[in-house]
Each structure stands twice: as structure tokens, then as C-alpha cells.
Symmetry: C2
Amino acid sequence: MEVSIFGRKDMQEILEMKEVIEGVKAVYKLKAEEETAVWPLVSYDFEEPAGVMDIKSGYIRGNINLHGAKMLNTFWGNDNVNTPIFNGLLMVFDSNTGVPLGMMDASYVTCMRTGAAGAIGVEVLARTDSRKLFILGAGKQASFQIAATLILMPGIEKVYIADALSYENAVNFADRMPEVLRKDFKILNREYVDFEAIEDMAAGVGDSDVIITITPSRSPVIKKEWLKPGTHLSCVGADMKGKVEIDPEIFTNAKIYADDKKQCMEVGEMELAVKKGIITEKKVVGEVGAVIAGLIPGRETKDEITVFDATGVALLDLVTAKIAIDLAKEKGLGRKAEI
Amino acid sequence: MEVSIFGRKDMQEILEMKEVIEGVKAVYKLKAEEETAVWPLVSYDFEEPAGVMDIKSGYIRGNINLHGAKMLNTFWGNDNVNTPIFNGLLMVFDSNTGVPLGMMDASYVTCMRTGAAGAIGVEVLARTDSRKLFILGAGKQASFQIAATLILMPGIEKVYIADALSYENAVNFADRMPEVLRKDFKILNREYVDFEAIEDMAAGVGDSDVIITITPSRSPVIKKEWLKPGTHLSCVGADMKGKVEIDPEIFTNAKIYADDKKQCMEVGEMELAVKKGIITEKKVVGEVGAVIAGLIPGRETKDEITVFDATGVALLDLVTAKIAIDLAKEKGLGRKAEI
């Protein structure tokens, strides 16, 4: 049978953020409606050379109807041998027959669906009149968060970029961003957005309506006292034990949402707050998909603080793979191989 | 980076049983030397349509040094829609960098490594003067068992084929076998081997030195009283809960070996014997790899009964994938894609 084979470059040509957002939203909703299964995580720590691998897998029923697995490898020493640190493959299968549909590079898929996830948290939970966005992190992933958020929130006019380790990096990132939006994401109608690198994080956070955190930090950066009432935070960087980006005290008077409640409590931004006993499971309102499905309330007043903790589930990769396969067919792009 | 992409037909052209046997043997040995890791199995039962999927994964250190995962889907209803019942993909990565090496069809790999495994059990544990082989099962897998065993045991002159459900099927299988050996396995120097379908299983088993069972049976077929002293049995078909091919009483006075001891006790041929209390863990001598590595004894007398319980581990698929990648390079076959 014919199987779609897409490399990193194919995926960049094929995928469109708008479509990925719609797919991720649909999957969040199906998850809340119990139309998905997230299978157990398999992970392993390599000793020599130091590395981590994990296998995430799952199943989406409904009209999407596919299942699959993603293996992602992280080998920090690769930098020294001029090889990417992250490498991975994703395979998807038709859940009616088990026939393979596609095998593809997993890294670009991960970036796209992670951008979509953070932005969906903003659309669903932030104040609709939000004008200013603060991004903590100026790495590769940050541009995906910005692109997706600008698509969903056309009212945003200002984006602060903060890099706790290097202001210079934030400046370079802010300078490049308009071109990245046009070239990499084909977003042509956001010339009015002003990108500003900011050194004084307290000032930037205090002036913003929406915060997205997308760093590998292992100690809290965003302080509770910096936030103004009505702020929304999408916490995306913390996705494994020990990672944390915001003061755990922020959770005490926030409305808390998760992409996957159990996983967020174990390895997400809320891990530390749970471990410290600052919050318990009861304090989590629910999953963002349940808000999308109309099963639980989202933001109810303009002054409340909302937090979306996004740790990532394989279901998002699977639906993004499906979108890639469908778009490739439509556009006549990508490759097929007889398998 | 360039990744090897092989379909079912590519694998048939590329792989050679001799090489697969060497690879599987090396991995069994590395496993005994604790140079491998078998990661937790992920499995799922689909309800509508009925199906099963499992993800097997693992890591081989030493000079092989790769890791990966295989997802295999079984959808029984596919027969009705003219689609294979088994479908799967295998992905392998370099364990120094996490860079993907190959993505390929998993079904032919599974057949080849399973054939090699059963035959290695014969080579390691059967009497070296074995002349007659009895195969229970005349399905697709049986020819792989025969081909591998004939390569390792050139003294075998007679092969009995038994199909408990259809003697006619066994007859057809026996008739086809000489051509299958020549065409599918390129084994040209075994013209002296006589293939005979046999209806009287007691007689066939009693006349044989080696038994290989390769059926999906769920009740014992081979009776204890049929066996002559000194017989070796490689039990390959029983690889999940409830599957069983030989009388569990056979284990009481046999020397028992496993491919993976824990897995065999849970889902292998010995599952029923363990559950019935006929044997305990102590009765299992060890893993076949430990015999190959010279760590434990194999057969010690010409009269003892030996049993090799082979349930299959992902490590065998991974090494077979590596062999395919290396052979493809050597032969200038297969495809590569930029991923």
C-alpha cells in the first residue's frame, strides 16, 4: 500500500498553522468527549552518550479515526557533532484497518502542534479584548507560539519578548519576527504588530494581557506580584519532571486548566504547586477541551487570572500528521512510497 | 538526513535468512550479557472494528548500538475488504545521536526474525545428529521456520508438515516447499530434503528429532506420550495470553529455555504450565542467549527433552532492520529519503 513519507522540509512546505489549530482544537474537544485514548508513555534515559527517548502514542476516534506513535530522541551532545539535538519519527495508521497512512519527521509536527496548543489556551481563556502578549523564551519554539496566537487573536498589537538568559537573543528574535511571520508562516496581515525585546520582565508582564512561557527553565521565572488582574497564562515549556516557569503561588488564586489533567499534575507547570501542597486536584477546573465542548465554564469575569498548563499529548501529533497527509494530497506535495 | 525507507517487497529482496540468523544470535547473546533493554509493551484492543495493536520497543548496546519501536496492527475483518490482516511499521535510530536510520514495513521483518529464532533454538538445543523435523502449522510463518532450520541443520533430511485443521493444506504446503526454499529463500542445496504432509501426528512426532510449533492454537496439540527421548521442541506460535500448542505436562521432565524468561512465563508456551502449577520459575534453566554466551549449559545428554519457548522481542526486529539497512547499501537496493 502507498504510505506518505514526509521529511522536515516537506512538512514545512505542507503544513499551515490555521489548519493545525483547527485540528488540535477538534482533538481537544474529542478528548473531553472521551473519544480518544492516550496510551502509556514509554521513556528511557541513555547514559553514554547522555540522551532521552520517549514514545508517545494514542488513538483518536470520531471522524478523524487514526492511531499511531511518535518516538522522540534528545541527545544534548549532538551540538558538538553538528547534528540536531532533537530527532524523531511519527507513524500513523488508519484505525478501521490498521493500514499505515504515513511516516514522517516528528520535529516540525511537534513545533506546530505545540504552537497551536498554547494559542488555543489563549483564545479559549484570555480576555477577548487582550492587546498585549508577553513571551518568555526566545528559542525556536517561541515563533510558533506567536504565529498561532496572532492568527487566533487579531486584536493583539504588541508582543514583548523576554529571554532570562540573554537580552541580546531577545533583541535578535524581536527583529527577525516580522520576517519569520511572513516567510515561515505566510502571515501577511499583521504588520501592525510591534515586537519588543524587554529586559525588565516585571514591567513587561505587568503591561500584558496574555503570557506564554516556552523555555526549558527549572526554576520559576514569572513572579506572582508582576501579574495584573485578568491576565491569562499559557504555560507550555514545562513538560517533564522538574521543569517550571512560573511562581507556583500564582495557582492559588487562578482558574486552572490543563490539556491532560493527570499528566499536567505529574510533569507539567503545576507539578511543583501540587508537590508543595499549594494546590490539589480539586483546584483544577478541568481540561481545555471541556471548555471548547461547552462542558465546563472558561473565564467568567474580566479580572480573574487564568492558567492553561499544556504538556503535550500524542493525539496532537497524530491529528497534525493527518492534516499533513490531507494537505499534501490537496497541494500535490510530499512523497508516497509503496510499503 | 537520509533515512532508509523499505516496503514489504524491498525487504523480500534485501533480507537474507543467513544474515538474520547471525543478527538474532548476536542479540540473544547481548541480551544475556545485559547489553540490551526491552522497554514496556504498549497494547490496545480496538472494539469496532475488532483489532489489536501493540508497540514493542527496545535498545541494543554493544557494536549494534541502536534503538527503536515496532507498531503492529491486527484487524481480523480486513480479510473481507481484501486488505492484509497484519500491518505494521518499524522505526530504528542510532543510539549515539538519536538520528533516524530507517522506517520500514514490519511484517516481513517479523517473519524472518521469528524463523531465525525458532531455528536458533534448534541449533543450540537439539541433538547435533538430528535428522527429522516435525512442523506443526502450515501457515505463512512455517516456511520461515523451515528455511532457517535447514540452513543451521544441514543434517536434516526429512520434514513432516502437520496441519491439525486441514490435511489438504499440509499436502499443498509440502508440495510447494522445495520451490519456496529456492525462490523465496534462495536455498539451492537442500534437494535431498523430503517434505511430507502427515495426518497421523503421533507417528510423525514420534519419528522426529526436532519439533517446531507455529500455529495460533489455543489448546494443546502435541501430546507428551508422542515424544521420543532426546527430542527438542521450539515453541514459537504461543506469544500471547491463552495461546498454547503443547501438552503442559511435557515441561515436567524437560530442560526449559526461553527467549525472555519473564515474558515466556506470562504469555508464552509455558504460560499454561506455570498457571496450572506444573512448573515454577526455578524449573526454567535460563535464556537461550545465556547458552550461546556460554553462561549456562544447554543440552547435556542425548536422551533429554529440551524446550525453547520463543515469544519474540523487539530487539530481534531492530537488529533485522539494521541488517536490512546494511545489506541494502551493499547491494544498492531499497530507497532513501531526506527526512
